[in-house]
Symmetry: C2
Subunit: 356 residues, 2 copies
């Protein structure tokens, strides 16, 4: 029988739920959403998974909030907005190392801004956490892009988990489908629409807007960032593709090995024509193998109606795995917002403790 | 780090892979495909999952093949076609009970024909296996429809797994997505295209054929069975919906509680009109909740282009989960053939031993 239900029925036998200390680094949009989500779901997680998640510390760049490890839940702010530097828990000298050392290990949640060149400050945080015997879940792609192999090996050596669903398309299941739903099948190719911003722009261009208009609209709606370079030039897609490929196919690809072309050179003309023929232009991240070698590339492609990603429009994302025994399996959707990313972090934490 | 890779690296430390005895009941199309797949993947499963799957017995209605439990792999036929009643392993008196008792428990694989009224002979097999301390994976829906709660409780009492991915849309991940990829999220609604035969017929009707033509074509191609009643009247969809809902939502629905309408009354006219408006008619299995009560229904519906299942055509299947934190997540595809079902059985076996 399925573990979730097994747990439910066996749960009354446990005197109380398993207490899991959390240290959260970064309270930007995703960090805030995660803080709120854990408080919102506290009862649900106890009831359904037997997990009692407790924030022990929340780190910012200039210090942090330290709540200790006791059952002092009532003293913690009930929303991320309540985390004020003036509050009683604020400790201007608090570092990740100090927060990690004060008590038994739990899960370190990395949500600081992503820097895909240096990986910092996330890389330093993750290394410190893994070395201190903490599991790590991260929404921050930077450290993984810069040091995938190093961090993976460090996690193994310390017998802890390093999980990053939130960095690989967040609420859209990508790693899960490949590693869990396709267990026993060999993956022969991967293709994905992995960036919501560029997909939104392409969708609008397919409806007749030009690139500049579509980008401005996306920025006005808060979909595209003020500096959209990483998204529209294909680098965000490349990063996600890299992380998925390295995890699922057991590779050690670096970003330099991915051929990347973005959507900035596309003309509305091409998109309208594709549209007229009943086709669509999508920014596709693709892994293919020939003669035993994997090739990683990101580029705009014209796909037809029969393609399983054809209907993935707007800010939606999707991924298709071609396998030897299960045919082609596709996942689409998943909220593209901070709450979706927070939910992916939470999922990874559940998987660490509840091994389905 | 992700368990598949962790296993790989730790595997050299194990002297040999874990030997798992298998008893297979039923060698129709799915049973044959499973037998072949396990032999084909034997090395792969050892290498990637540390599992050494060994057929100990294969049961037919009039007896069975008994291979014992030793490492006598070379004596076993290398394809299901080699399982001849005249062969040295044939034992005309072999029953499930006898096969299960001769040696330490492993996994019982139930592939006998599905009877959704009596559940037999699968139900008897599964009960015997669970009572003998064997895990069970089943492609046979009958026993689960007739006795879901009884079998689930029996598995729990015996501390073994009862898994049925192969009975819930096979290579399309349905239970996996809900229980694993959406862990921590609450599912608020489910809708699925869960029957390949009726979806094929609807797709062809949308292209202008009438029902009788489309059905005949599906039968000629081996997609529809000679007696297509269960598929076209919606019962196969209802059964899958029931199993998914009971597992994922923790319900104890029976088939009598599902409102079922099939596709036999549809006119090509309606489908053409939907088509002209850029819409499509699909046979949808749907779970919705209002005032705290879940409602289960199967009926043909007109869906528009923005619907995540719009592009699911031909024999393809798909399922959409609406959640509180991850938005709408959809899985589509997965091979609709005996090999796909065999791959789903194999996946369930891997999950029993490798708890990701």
């Amino acid at each position: 029988m399925l573990p979730k239900k097994k747990l439910k029925s066996s749960f009354p036998l446990r005197l109380r739920a398993r207490r899991v200390p959390l240290v959260l680094a970064g309270i930007g949009n995703v960090g805030k959403a995660f803080y709120g989500l854990v408080l919102e779901k506290h009862e649900y997680l106890q009831k359904h998974y037997g997990l009692d998640l407790r924030f022990k510390a929340v780190l910012k760049s200039d210090g942090g909030y330290f709540f200790g490890s006791g059952p002092r839940k009532s003293k913690r702010p009930s929303t991320a907005a309540g985390l004020l530097s003036a509050g009683p828990h604020w400790n201007p000298g608090l570092t990740a190392e100090a927060a990690l050392k004060a008590g038994r290990p739990g899960v370190f949640v990395e949500c600081t801004p992503s820097n895909i060149r240096t990986g910092e400050p996330g890389r330093g945080h993750i290394r410190a956490a893994l070395r201190a015997g903490w599991h790590v879940v991260t929404a921050n792609k930077g450290p993984l892009v810069v040091d995938f192999k190093g961090l993976r090996d460090l996690a193994r050596r310390n017998h802890v988990f390093l999980k990053y669903s939130a960095a690989t398309a967040a609420a859209l299941p990508t790693l899960d489908v490949a590693m869990y739903s396709l267990a026993g099948a060999e993956i022969q190719a991967i293709e994905g629409i992995l960036n919501g911003t560029s997909n939104y722009i392409l969708t609008r261009m397919g409806e007749g807007e030009d690139y500049a208009e579509a980008l401005r609209e996306a920025q006005d709606k808060g979909i595209a960032e003020h500096n959209p370079e990483l998204d529209v030039k294909g680098w965000d897609t490349a990063v996600k593709l890299l992380l998925i490929a390295n995890s699922v196919l057991g590779l050690d690809l670096t970003l330099q090995e991915v051929t990347v072309e973005g959507i900035t050179q596309l003309t509305p003309d091409l998109l309208e024509r594709a549209n007229r023929d009943g086709k669509a232009v999508k920014l596709i991240g693709r892994m293919t193998r020939s003669a035993g070698r994997w090739k990683a590339e990101v580029s705009p492609e014209i796909i037809d109606r029969a393609h399983p990603l054809f209907g993935v429009n707007g800010t939606n994302k999707g991924i298709t795995f071609l396998t030897d025994t299960m045919g082609s399996v596709t996942a689409t959707g998943g909220k593209s917002d901070p709450r979706g990313a927070a939910a992916a972090l939470l999922k990874d934490i559940i998987h660490i403790f509840i091994h389905h």
